[in-house]
Amino acid sequence: MTATTDTEAVEDVESFRARARAWLGETFARVDAPDDPIGDRLRVEGRDVHADAERARMGQRMLREGGFAGITYPKEYGGRGLRAAHLHAFTHEARAYDLGGSGPMFAMTLGMMGPTLLELGSDDLKARYLPRMIQGDDLWVQFLSEPTGGSDLAGAVTRATRDGESYVISGSKVWTSAADYSDFGFCLARTDWDVPKHRGLTMFVVPLRAPGLEVIPLRLVTGATGFCQEFFDNVVVPAADVIGEVNDGWTVASRLLVHERNAIAGGSEFHDMDTGGTRADGPERVGRRVDLAELARARGLADDSHSRQLVAEADVLATVNRQLSSRLQTATALGVLPPAAGSLLKLFGSTAHVRTSDITMELSGSSGVVWPGDDRSAGLGVDFLFRQATSILSGTSEIQRNIISERVLGLPREPAPDRDLPFREVRHNTMPKRAGSE
């Protein structure tokens, strides 16, 4: 599925690529390693995220002006109405340029929320928001996870209560990346407590500066931030800002997750962060990219067969990760594997990250846990503290294994006692009290 109609004449991909290459060269500076404000922020304290966001918005605006924004989005919303091949061609060419970090910064907006809005949003919502996304005005986030919910996204207990032409939302969301500098959110809230959990949820558009909505950056084990927790205290949104149908929010959330998986697997038709393989050691990778060969040399281990094998093992995992990514794109495109096969890549990336993190610790030895200088996060051991993050965030490895075994392999589903119960009868976790609230 692409956003073009077959009746239109479409520019040839190679001619498009040539135009893009020329334009990029005239417009942007070349860089060796494009900035990744999102990944970097998880490690480094004190990065100015508002400046990052401003730069990314500017980059996206320039793309729009050059005619290279929203390449596969319909023209009526400010897109170019082209095909995935054009998108991939453009991204491939753009890899070497500094686009202000707009690639990663707009990944969620244009790769997940935009496509979902396009599929399920009302005409009014699409007209209101899609052009602003494409021209770099607004960054979007998703409010799915809750402190009480863990992996069980459909067990959301944030409540939305109808009040005339509005809904009033109260509750808490967590693990929202980018909420502290973005503009709008998709918010999943419970609108009916008397039906089973998947059938009482509704998805709302919530402006991040709405009264009653408080966004708190979450401090991570590394000392840095990068995710937020939000507290909704009677936040009022218009009933017209429901995405999809009332009580059909799970459908919307499911589409979001599909788009997320596609984006991670590099298979998105709407926003392609990098087809060149530079994110090959897992799109969810966090922490520094360490040159392990250099580390081994610096630690005097270049002649040690055990250390040499560790260096090679990490390299093998990175190479195979890239090869697997490419294979799975083909397999899902051909229908040899179902879309859920994206979970295979997520799981591979996470487990490869774990192993690479262990290898890094082993090669760094004492110097990884005690180090000179003033920087408390300079030691490689600090990255080790965050080792599991890639195996937890955006769907834990346990959830990925469930998905693979049930939806790729067709093994029987786990018994879920809550599946058919009215939600108010389901055993769930209680919301921890907020310090100072009530």
Binding site: E313, T319, Q323, L328
Partner: protein, 375 residues
Amino acid sequence: MELELQDDQELFVETTRRFLEAESPLTRVRDLYEDPVGFDRDYWRRGAELGWATMLVPEELGGGSVSGAGLLDLELVAEEMGRTVAPGPLLPVNVVADTLARSGRPDQQEAELAGLVSGERIATWAFAEPSSRWDAGGVALGASERDGAWVLSGTKSYVQDAAVADEWLVTARTGDSLTQFLVAAGTPGVTVAPLQSLDMTRRFGDVVFDGATVDGSAVVGRVGDAAADVERQLQVALTVQNAETVGAVNRVYEFTLEYAQDRMAFGRPIGSYQALKHRFADMKMWLEACNATATASARAVQAGADDAPKLVSTAKAYIGDRAPAIVQDCVQLHGGIGVTWEHDLHLYLRRVAQNAALYGSARDHRLRVATLLGV
């Protein structure tokens, strides 16, 4: 394994698969356990008629491949043979045919290739030695020139089908460099000592050269210039081996997954237990990764890519570790029946474990990757 095949390739795979099902069922593999040769020459000839030995030989030399990318077609055959743990000298014959086609003199090509391609003759590569190093540095067997002839002394080991081969392609040390010789079986001064093998049907031998003398015409390629040929031979051998291993593991995984869906324990299919489901998920991930790296490295070798040496070693390092681990976990998932002779699992485990160790173990190839990374 390869996801996108040309129509010709589909047909080729289908033909090979049907031939193997008919001519080499697992009951036949079991019978061959007692056979000192391990395969039937007629079976091999008829396989060769399907094209099993032509793929790396250009058409003008009597070969040809269905897709034009011979190594990728060979990969497909190797995978099918892995799926049925089929017998036969696929790897050594193709390695030697490839070397002759690339580096042999026209008279050698003339004399040898037709027989190899038709399956009438069998040749094998005598490279490793009792030190069991699978790199050029491990070649100690010496060749010295005397009056236009060459005298070979030393021992080659782990030589597949050594006893049945009509020729051995021998990698020898000539001073600081390597030279290869095509030595006919029966040459005086050469003896073959059979070795035992873990695989049900694959046979190996030591080939001992005790001052054996061969004519100067036995040299393949230029004297002292075999390094590139040896690298190519290793790449071809590893491509075949990786494909075969991956084919075997794909098949084991398939029937184990089926078994888990059917087999009941405590009133539920064992495949409904989450701990097992998650292991099947992990195995699927490793298996797709094995497939991915096998095909990616085969393509690199086919294309003669600069990074082919690293990608081939990467594939072997990954597959050599994961493949036996997956098959062993499939044994575990079968329970007691999985460690009986009567179950077919061990036929696969033997092949996969043997492949893991030959042509360089995962460890050896990690060290090669490290060297290529400059450490």
